[in-house]
């Protein structure tokens, strides 16, 4: 992981971030520690031998949930001819389980004091992020062979239980072992750290012991079940493998749907359910692991809004933005129980439901979620028409802790006019109209096919056609030939050129006559960096190649842009975007970051990573998967899968074998034939 830190993860939202020694020594504001359900259960976990910290020789990430640290006594840069080595092997599962081994390489016995220093601040992730103070009280208990660290605020209670297999001297600050290691012998113990809380169906259910092998088997099965990729490019193969492993790590289980998982948004801050991120990632992964989409639809459906609640920005039919379980959420100091301030997730929910059916033929799920889908479609017209002009728009009702920007480009300056000035609220961003259009078209298909309601289907189709007509009139920036990023509250175009145009192609809302000009902009000099499409075009008032949503390149964004280009027949342009992003992936060892700099490719020669704490991130992980789909031109058609490859020359030969779907399993082949005229890298 970056910054010399390690992240491990299991059961979705339990994770450990430590240094290369395996130690945790967190300040109140950094994200090291053992976290579970958005609470830090250990902020200190430091191993010493005779009072001295250890030095890492090597650190191996065995699996995403398991790490081995090889350590020797002595710190500093001078090499010490150590007669001892220490192995810490850590598996994350409802807390973590650590096996501690000390090897004596000398021919004399050695006596040691082994100490594990432990403490917890029980910080809520929000407190770590926003540097806030705790309001409750700490306690500890020393029981037989156990140290219990605890925190309570009124009835809110969280505990960390540390126990050991061998006898230890236990005090409130940790465990001490008096150890004698024979000549050329070893000493070994297990230490167990469990996170406990009574809320939400009880605490952890399974012991950590043995979890490692169970998880390893689970990961093997996951990798075996996914389609196999055969290709000339080692880099692409590595990226594909990395994506599948990271996606496995990002799986998150909710307690209401045991045994199933959906993608969480990212590590370490976003290991939770996010409407938008879970839906986009499920769409990207559909040809590979359709069960993620199924769980996403069920889990988001369960928590679909039913009330009008200003604090949570909730409306009936609205799909949630983010779910959290920490102290600040519990005491309603934050609205994430769940928070609904997101406008795109609701139409995208219907889009995912339809796309899922097209791939899997699972009409049973579509029938089961009829109410939820209808409620989502109803929300679009009933609750999102905030400008009163029939367009989907957003404006938060929770002005204290709600989100100001509720579209995917959620930073304060992402939506601007060409001159850089910012519109007021409500804002109707263009991609939202595309999603709403697509939701209506797809909803109509499902209404006819599954819900057997042709009248509803007719109505939706009429509304979609009307929306498309108005949209192509009102959002079209005539002099430049692209779509404005938004309409302001006066109906004026917010006219900066942005990557949102690619999402419009994906949704199908763009008039055929306008598509060519849009595609030309997407791969033109102002938007295309050589690696990918920038979030905002060079030359706009707010353009900044390292501005979060105003010039950086987002792999996720590009994967949907490539899909959009394919939808309108721009095979070559889609191949260019795919090739650029996959070339960039090589520089990140197959793990694409959330975003990278929008500098021209010929200027930097390598993609400059945008500084961010979150990696891997789900929709970046999903980007190579969707790009494989767009390169091979995979498209369900009735009971068949159409394959229509469009690959850049440099990709060479490509085979994706055993693609699951309503057709059973099929293989797809392609060969790079498109000369994309991008500078060869390096």
């Amino acid at each position: 992981m970056s910054d010399g830190q390690l992240v491990q993860i299991l059961e979705g939202n339990t994770f450990v971030v430590s240094d290369r020694n395996g130690d945790i020594d967190a300040s109140p504001v950094d994200a090291t520690g053992l976290f579970s359900f958005d609470t830090r259960f250990l902020s200190k976990w430091v191993l010493t031998l005779d009072g001295e910290r250890l030095n890492a020789l090597s650190t191996d990430d065995l699996q995403y949930f398991e790490t081995r640290f090889f350590l020797v006594p002595g710190t500093g840069t001078v090499y010490i001819d150590a007669n001892l080595s220490v192995i810490r092997q850590r598996v994350v599962a409802d807390g973590f389980h650590e096996e501690l081994t000390i090897l004596n390489h000398d021919d004399k016995p050695v006596s040691l004091e082994v100490r594990l220093e432990a403490a917890s601040d029980f910080a809520d992730l929000f407190e770590v992020k926003d540097k806030l103070k705790k309001k409750g009280a700490y306690h500890h208990r020393i029981e037989r062979g156990r140290l219990v660290l605890g925190y309570t605020r009124e009835s809110f209670a969280r505990e960390t239980v540390i126990s050991t297999a061998l006898p230890a001297k236990i005090d409130e600050g940790g465990l001490t072992f008096k150890v004698k290691v024979p000549p050329h012998g070893l000493w070994k113990t297990m230490v167990d750290v469990r996170t406990e809380f009574a809320a939400w169906g009880g605490g952890p259910s399974q012991p950590a012991i043995g979890a490692g092998t169970k998880m390893a088997r689970g990961l093997d099965k996951w990798l075996q079940r996914a389609p196999r990729l055969e290709c000339d490019s080692d880099s692409l193969r590595a990226t594909y493998h990395r994506s599948l492993v990271d996606l496995a790590a990002l799986r998150f289980s909710t307690r209401t749907l045991p045994g199933r998982s959906l993608p969480a948004a990212g590590l370490p801050w976003f290991m939770t359910m996010f409407g938008r991120d879970s839906i986009f990632t499920s769409l990207q992964a559909l040809p590979f692991t359709p069960e993620l989409a199924q769980t996403t639809l069920l889990a988001l459906g369960e928590r679909q809004g039913t009330r009008v609640d200003d604090f949570r920005d909730e409306d009936p039919g609205r799909i949630l933005h983010e779910m959290r379980y920490g102290e600040m959420t519990a005491f309603e100091e934050r609205p994430h129980s769940p928070y609904y301030g997101c406008v795109d997730a609701t139409p995208l929910y219907v889009v995912l439901l339809d796309e899922y059916e097209r791939w899997t033929g699972d009409t049973k799920l579509v029938r089961g979620l009829e109410y939820e889908a209808r409620a989502a479609l109803n929300w679009i017209d009933e609750y999102a028409n905030l400008q009163g002009n029939g367009y989907v728009a957003y404006k938060r009702r929770n002005e204290k802790t709600g989100l100001e920007n509720q579209c995917w480009k959620d930073s304060w300056d992402s939506i601007s006019y060409r001159d850089g000035s910012l519109p007021g609220f409500p804002r109707a961003t263009c991609e939202l109209q595309g999603y709403a259009y697509d939701a209506k078209v797809r909803g109509a298909r499902l209404a006819r096919l599954v819900w057997k309601d042709p009248e509803f289907a007719d109505r939706l189709e009429k509304e979609a056609a009307d929306l498309k007509r108005r949209f192509n009139r009102d959002f079209w920036v005539e002099d430049e030939g692209y779509f404005a990023i938004a309409l302001d509250v006066d109906g004026r175009q917010v006219d900066a050129l942005t990557s949102n145009n690619g999402h419009l192609l994906w949704s199908g809302i763009v008039d055929k006559s306008k598509a060519k000009s849009v595609a030309a902009h997407l791969v033109g000099k102002r938007l295309f960096s050589g690696w990918g499409v920038r979030t905002m075009a060079e030359g706009e008032g707010r353009y900044n190649p390292i501005g979060y949503h105003v010039g950086t390149v987002w792999p996720y964004d590009n994967s949907f842009i490539a899909w959009g280009l394919r939808r309108y027949g721009f095979k070559e342009e889609a191949a260019r975007v795919a090739a650029g992003i996959l070339d960039a992936a090589e520089f990140f060892d197959g793990r694409l970051p959330e975003a990278f700099g929008g500098y021209p490719r010929e200027m930097t020669k390598y993609p400059v990573q945008y500084p961010t704490a979150c990696s891997p991130q789900a929709w970046s992980t999903g980007a190579p998967l969707l790009l494989l789909r767009t390169m091979l031109g995979l498209e369900p058609y009735g009971e068949h899968l159409i394959v229509d490859p469009g690959l850049a020359l440099g990709i060479g030969h490509l085979e994706l074998l055993d693609i699951p779907g309503r057709w059973g399993h099929v293989d797809a082949f392609g060969r790079g034939r498109i000369d994309i005229k991008v500078d060869v890298k390096k």
Partner: protein, 123 residues
Amino acid sequence: MTETIASDPTANFFDGLAKRGHEPLLQNTSGTLRVELRTGKQTEHWYVTIDKGDIAVSNANEEADAVVRCDKALFDEMATGRANMMTAILRGVFETEGDLGLVISFQRLFPSPPKSVYARKIR
């Protein structure tokens, strides 16, 4: 059915459920939920049986797929939209046991907070 008096929001809530008969919000839900509400040393029990959206309410002892437990005063608040079930669970004042999917479906039935206004009207 227990005696309903106007000042008992919980009883009103369950009466409302019983009268509703069918609730499309719960069309995918089936199961029996036992609600245990404490007032001092006394506990009252409500049983809500859902059969694909058809709701029946009773006080008779039945086999339950899930159990929820809290102070009656808190349930009164939830029954009028003033308290939220999920945050009550996280604070440890609302206990759950058994089928959590059923519990999550049940929480859909609580009303909106009284002060909320339609987004459309605050433009």
